[in-house]
């Protein structure tokens, strides 16, 4: 698999003033904090986390829509900078984005066929006939029939709109596709259709795909790898199956346990369907302006240790592809994850040794 996208220590800060008066001291919002990741052709990486953890910000930086405060991003060896120049415009052919709200992402006044054709016009690819042919082809591949070509966005259903947005993104034949919560705005019954479509298109075109979502079931269905974000950092990363069935980080475990299931199978992504107890996190929801010291998760962590309050955990490889940033897994006595019914999911080192 060829490596396409590589991000190294990417950070993004925002300056915000805390209140509306004139004299507030500007505070810094750390949306993304030193994140590194890689993405190859044909690979789907899921990016999960709560609202405000920085997923969208990271995605925008990776695709060149937002400047980084520090760090480097390269695509096929070429640096990605968010400066709008000719080079940037040419780069748009290689990477595109699908948005959460398809109605907002489309121009209300234009017919959908014109909007799907527009990228070709902007990038001056082919003559009119060729552009029309390519447009029809991509619309067909997303399942939009000819009778819908002349319609306006508000005349389509939510699922159809999202497919149009997808078509528009794919008409340039990009190598990288970023999907920012592409199905959250859709009805449940439509979500499956769109997800299957995405999966199929990705295979056909060997796309590298970054899939942002807070819905773990979908992530499991479509992603090869998953990265879990919390307050701007990736706290766990690895193959989807492994992370979702054997989470190493308490936060990941809490997220999984929150996924509702038919009675008795809560939190079961793994092969064993032992019922799990719902982990309720205590403490305040995370605020990216006021990031806690040490491990950012420590105020809410059910298995917090003393060192979590002062030391930031570093990334530890648990095996070839599964990494985690948690003190439970660093240090001299790495922990073994042992789920058991009706008990807390994590066991302290002492008990493990017993």
């Amino acid at each position: 698999m060829t490596l396409l996208l590589k991000a190294t220590q990417v950070t993004r800060n925002f300056n915000v003033s805390a209140s509306k008066t004139w004299f507030a001291k500007p505070r810094v919002l750390r949306a993304v904090n030193q994140i590194s990741l890689e993405l190859s052709a044909g690979q789907t990486l899921g990016l999960v986390g709560e609202s405000g953890c920085g997923k969208s910000t990271l995605a925008r930086m990776l695709i060149g829509l937002l400047t980084t405060s520090s760090g480097e991003i390269t695509f096929a060896g070429q640096p990605i900078q968010a400066k709008r120049n000719t080079h940037w415009r040419a780069q748009r052919r290689d990477m595109q984005m699908v948005y959460q709200d398809p109605l907002a992402a489309l121009d209300r006044r234009l017919k959908i066929i014109d909007q799907v054709q527009e990228p070709l016009v902007i990038q001056k690819i082919g003559d009119r006939a060729a552009q029309l042919a390519a447009t029809r082809e991509v619309l067909e591949s997303v399942g939009i029939g000819q009778d819908l070509y002349g319609r306006y966005p508000h005349e389509l259903s939510g699922g159809q709109r999202q497919r149009v947005v997808l078509a528009r993104a794919l008409v340039l034949k990009p190598q990288l596709l970023v999907c920012d919560e592409p199905i959250s705005a859709l009805d449940l019954s439509i979500q499956a259709q769109v997800i299957n479509l995405l999966s199929q298109l990705q295979k056909n075109r060997n796309l590298a795909m970054l899939f942002i979502s807070h819905d773990l079931r979908v992530v499991r269905h479509i992603c090869d790898d998953v990265a879990v974000m919390y307050l701007g950092k990736i706290i766990e990363q690895g193959p989807a199956e492994m992370i979702l069935s054997k989470p190493a980080h308490p936060y990941t475990a809490a997220l999984i346990s929150a996924v509702s299931h038919p009675k008795g199978t809560r939190g079961s992504f793994g092969t064993d369907s032992t019922p799990r107890k719902r982990i309720l996190l205590t403490g305040e929801p995370p605020n990216p302006i006021d990031i806690p010291t040490g491990c950012a998760f420590h105020p809410r962590c059910p298995s917090v240790l003393a060192r979590c309050k002062t030391e930031t955990p570093v990334k530890t490889m648990l095996d070839a592809r599964h990494s985690v940033a948690c003190h439970l897994h660093t240090g001299t006595s790495p922990l073994v994850y042992m789920p058991s019914a009706n008990e807390s999911l994590l066991v302290t080192p002492l008990e493990a040794l017993a």
Partner: protein, 288 residues
């Protein structure tokens, strides 16, 4: 707000269904427009032509002769010809000014929305300034200091009303950008020019047109007021307000000199009000 505006094509479709009085308004405006366009052909006399032997003749039907349908003024000039020429002048100034004002407003509004920060603040301060002083006073000051040529006057009239357009443009552009499609099109590689002119502008067009339907009659009133005072369109050129101003001296002896242009002004601004209200209702029912 953009979700509430109808497309312009729906507006045209509604034309057939408007109330009678509004229809009359449309017809009147169309007549005025035709007169303005074909003024040279329509005038029986050149508007400056003197005929001192036929001074202060009343209109046909009040004792006058048929060669001067609306009578003559104190220098023997044909009132009808002067009226037609004045209509052309007043409408010309009104159209030119509305266009200039719309262009200034659009440009500044876009700049403010695009660049935010200092540029935006500067534009907002300028908008506030313009909005808080009655334009009549600004116009008077400029006319005092710079004297008066037609070009200067038109530019001055073009400075009326831009603040309303600028404010609307800025607000709507910001919300259009927030909505997302502007960013989406940019992510496809579109240039700023394309984003603004092919995407944002058409989406805010209906609201802008509403604003322009307010500016147009205001310019007519402003120009005729200033010309009435002798400060607007200067002799030998003639405009509707100008005629009313000159005709005032002869109010008792030859009222037709003044009544002809005055009635044109009233009927035209009335038509514009009625038509403008109707257009505004159709384009955006949420506006007053």
């Amino acid at each position: 707000m953009t979700t509430l505006t109808l497309k312009l094509s729906t507006l045209r479709g509604n034309l057939v269904r408007c109330p009678t009085i509004v229809l009359i308004g449309w017809i009147w405006l169309a007549i005025m427009l035709l007169i303005a366009l074909f003024a040279e052909v329509l005038t029986p006399y050149v508007y400056t032509a003197l005929d001192l032997s036929a001074r202060l003749q009343p209109p046909v039907g009040f004792g006058g002769q048929s060669n001067h349908l609306l009578g003559t003024d104190e220098l023997g000039r044909d009132v009808l010809s002067r009226l037609i020429t004045s209509i052309k002048m007043s409408l010309l100034i009104a159209f030119a000014s509305t266009l200039i004002s719309a262009t200034i407003g659009l440009t500044l509004g876009f700049l403010a929305a695009r660049f935010r920060g200092f540029v935006e603040q500067a534009v907002m301060v300028a908008i506030d300034f313009q909005a808080s002083i009655p334009f009549m006073l600004i116009a008077l000051a400029v006319l005092a200091f710079f004297g008066n040529t037609l070009v200067l006057f038109i530019c001055l009239m073009g400075c009326h009303g831009w603040e309303r357009t600028a404010r609307i443009t800025r607000n709507l552009t910001i919300s259009a950008v927030e909505q997302g499609y502007a960013n989406a099109v940019e992510a496809l590689g579109a240039s700023t020019w394309r984003i603004y002119f092919r995407h944002i502008l058409p989406n805010i067009a209906s609201t802008l047109i509403v604003s322009m339907t307010l500016t147009f009659p205001e310019v007519i009133l402003l120009e005729s007021g200033l010309s009435f005072l002798g400060l607007g369109v200067q002799a030998p050129l003639t405009s509707l307000g100008n005629m009313v101003g000159y005709g005032r001296e002869y109010l008792q002896s030859a009222p037709w000199i003044l009544l002809a242009p005055a009635s044109i002004i009233v009927l035209t601004t009335l038509s514009i009000s009625l038509v403008g209200d109707w257009v505004r209702d159709k384009l955006d029912p949420t506006l007053q």
